[in-house]
């Protein structure tokens, strides 16, 4: 019963919190650029407005893929916050991502196809880091369950610093922040129209937006796990990480896919793998 309640709480709370986070993001970005920025509720207004618009599509299936994307993102988050298996959560996240990519492919549009290819490259770039982070947490806490990892009494950050930095690195990709926002970006200055989401409009674009809210909350939950020994420090660290990501977003221009994949893999190998091997040798 408590699990069902937790899922419900996440489905409602996750969305609201994600939307607020997005509003906060926009204000923060505006302030960094010496603008005032929109009200914090702006993302909700945007989504409501999108819902009200007529959906223009290239084919009927697009909406289906996007709906699957949203459903699987919510499922992923629910799995995570109920305390389920971390590896399974990562796999569910992958499934969700692939639905979005398939939606982009299905339109047979040049812009969204390139967006889809780049999204896949991004997934290829971040996947090892996420898996290795899960492996590291498992090695320390002896469990893949989020509930067990979250209730681990010692600070995970102290034993997994390398893994933490590599997660921060790929978090930039996952949050769709520059310099790694190859497939689609919130900045208007990029060259590929709107990449992945070019052919989505109206309610399907709204679904993508809402899915990102849920996704961001889950990702920050992942960051929180490193500091879960103390909820206050955990929440503070999570907010700090988000502010850092927004700062990076505003500091860099977009980089190439070669750099994205190579740097993510090298950072993961250099920091996360070294960290993992070190703890497996030291903590038997």
């Amino acid at each position: 019963m408590t699990k069902i309640a937790m899922v419900l709480a996440y489905v409602i709370g996750g969305g609201v919190l994600g939307g607020l986070l997005s509003g906060f993001d926009r204000i923060l970005t505006a302030r960094m650029q010496s603008r005032k920025g929109p009200p914090i509720m702006q993302p909700f207004f945007d989504v409501l407005k999108l819902m009200d618009k007529r959906t223009v599509v290239v084919n009927n299936y697009q909406t289906f893929y996007v709906a699957c994307f949203l459903i699987f993102i919510i499922l992923t988050g629910a799995l995570f916050f109920v305390g389920g298996d971390l590896l399974l959560t990562i796999f569910a996240l992958t499934v969700a991502g692939i639905f979005l990519v398939l939606g982009a492919y299905s339109s047979h549009s040049p812009y969204s196809t390139i967006g889809a290819e780049r999204e896949l490259l991004q997934m290829m770039a971040y996947e090892p880091a996420l898996l290795i982070a899960a492996l590291g947490m498992y090695w320390v806490t002896k469990s893949f369950h989020v509930s067990a990892i979250a209730s681990y009494s010692h600070p995970l950050i102290a034993v997994l610093p390398g893994i933490f930095v590599s997660v921060l690195f790929i978090l930039t990709i996952k949050l769709r922040k520059s310099p790694f926002d190859l497939s689609t970006s919130h900045h208007a200055h990029q060259e590929l129209v709107k990449g992945l989401t070019t052919e989505f409009s109206g309610s399907s674009l709204a679904m993508i937006e809402v899915a990102h809210w849920y996704e961001n909350i889950m990702l920050l939950g992942f960051v929180y796990l490193f500091f879960a020994y103390s909820p206050i420090i955990g929440i503070a660290a999570t907010i700090a990480v988000y502010i850092l990501e927004v700062l990076i977003d505003n500091m860099y221009a977009r980089l190439t896919w070669q750099f994205t994949v190579a740097s993510s893999w090298i950072v993961t190998a250099g920091l996360a793998v070294t960290n993992l091997i070190a703890i497996t040798m030291l903590l038997k």
């Binding site: 796999f91 040049p110 889809a116 492996l135």
Partner: protein, 630 residues
Amino acid sequence: MNQISFLLLFPLAPALLLAFISNQNVRNLIVWISSLTLIFVSLSLATAHLGTSPEFFSVDSPVLEKLFFAGEILLSLYLLWRCRGINKKESYIPVLIILQAGIGIFLELSGKLPKVENAFYVDNLSVIMALIIGIIGTIICIYSLGYMKEYHEHHKEIKDNIRGFFFIFFLFLSAMFGVVLCNNLVWLFFFWEVTTLCSFWMIGYSKTEEAKRNSYLALGMNLIGGLGFSIALVYLTFFAKTPTIELDRLIHMGSALALIPACLICFAGLAKSAQLPFSSWLLGAMVAPTPVSALLHSSTMVKAGVFIIIKMAPILQHTTAGLLLAGVGGVTFLMASLLAVSQSNAKRVLAYSTVANLGLIVTCAGVGTYEAIWAALLLVVFHALAKGLLFLTVGTVEHKIGSRDIEDMEGLIAVKPFLGVVMLIGIAGMFLAPFGMLISKWACLKALIDASPILAVLLAYGSAPTLFFWSKWMGKILSVPSNAVPLESPVDTNEATALTFLAIPTVLTCLLFPLIASVAIEPYISNLYGQTMSLSRGNILIMTIMLGLIILVPLGFVFYPRKQKHVSSYLAGANVSSGSASFLGAMGVVKDVATRNYYLSAAFGEAKLSLASVILGGALILGMFVVVII
């Protein structure tokens, strides 16, 4: 024992019949009847032996021993005779054949061969393998009925040798049953070499120059592996503390005594399952007709290699040699997955993915703990299903659209919906949660992190490109150009039947895998290790929910009200007219939009990675033997 001798001998009957019959209807009838018989008998073998402890059968027949000896000599003579076609570079092949035959004859005539008490056995692993051979093998055989007919209609220049094809096909099934049911290693090795012969014959089917060269490459590499097996037999006869050539005794000898012969046999397994540095033969084998690639080069024969390595797992566990062997598998998984990214030829993608997944199985077997073997067995089952299905679909698609290039499969879902859906099921089965292969990969990760984190890291890195090349293929199938025309010509009934009966279990196994695991896999492991593992109920529930969503959400969309406005895709305002995705080209000509996938050959091409992979694989194998001998 009746079932075993039936499975070994019965396929020879249709083999001989089909070698002489050229009437298509009679051939259809014979293949259908013998396939259904084989399915029935392998199922009855399963019901009799699943979940029970291994059962052994002794055969005390000097005549049979003589027959096997004669068979070995005949086999070598045939291969030597076929060496007429070799070129200078391949002159090592007859040397290997003579060396192997020499060792065989020497062993037989020395009179030192240890007495064999139990020549045959059945345990849960051989039942699993027998089911794969008996069911998936025969389904592929039924598929070949339609495929081979169309093959010769499409390739008039190739000499029709369908009779020979079906003879070899059934001979192969018999030999595979021999490999998984023989406890006598000398006999097992005979069947092993028969599968090498079948593979060699099938790869050379089209008699083109490329086919010939590739068939000799496959023969040569498998013979190198086979030499390892022969040496293992010599070692077991002359140098072992307690000489034996029985598989179960070898396994129970333990790491201290049996590591050298086990590694030699694993070496043969590595060559057979196309692990680095031997992977090139499997890529070359793709010139064979597609059912051959499905049966020999993905579902069964290459599985014989990992089968024997899995058998050796109890000896390998907790040894450095085992870890190095696992390293060969891990490196193969990573490199083959990376190489697959650069391929646009569908069969080559499938071949690289096969090599990669076999690598994963080898990794688990090399680690050899009970968790790892659990994962390895799941991989064997799911891979045989999904990959068999994919190969067959590619074969049919090739005949329908005239190309096996993934780029030409654009919009397949609209061009030929049945084939599109089946192909999507196959691809999803290979890499997407909650389908079989992903469950297995998940189990692998858990098993590997407990044994060796480096291996788990190889898996984490290797699965990333897997995601990339499968998804872009899926995207291609689903990306429907506005001018796509549905294809009229129907799929052959035999082919459609085979595809359906592979596609349904690929989906069903996601629901039934806890059952498969508890009935077939866990008894084998608890029998061997005294303990076993299983997935927690909660996780099974979650995977069922995911599968339910994947199946139900599309159904929901059938009833979804569509108030959507349709437009052509966005071309930055250059669209010629609304409704068609075309634009005015530089010379004022109307052009349709075309999209192409990324293959990134500058980063992941064969020219860049192949040599390094071979060197790495070779070095690890060398390391394994160095460690064992020291």
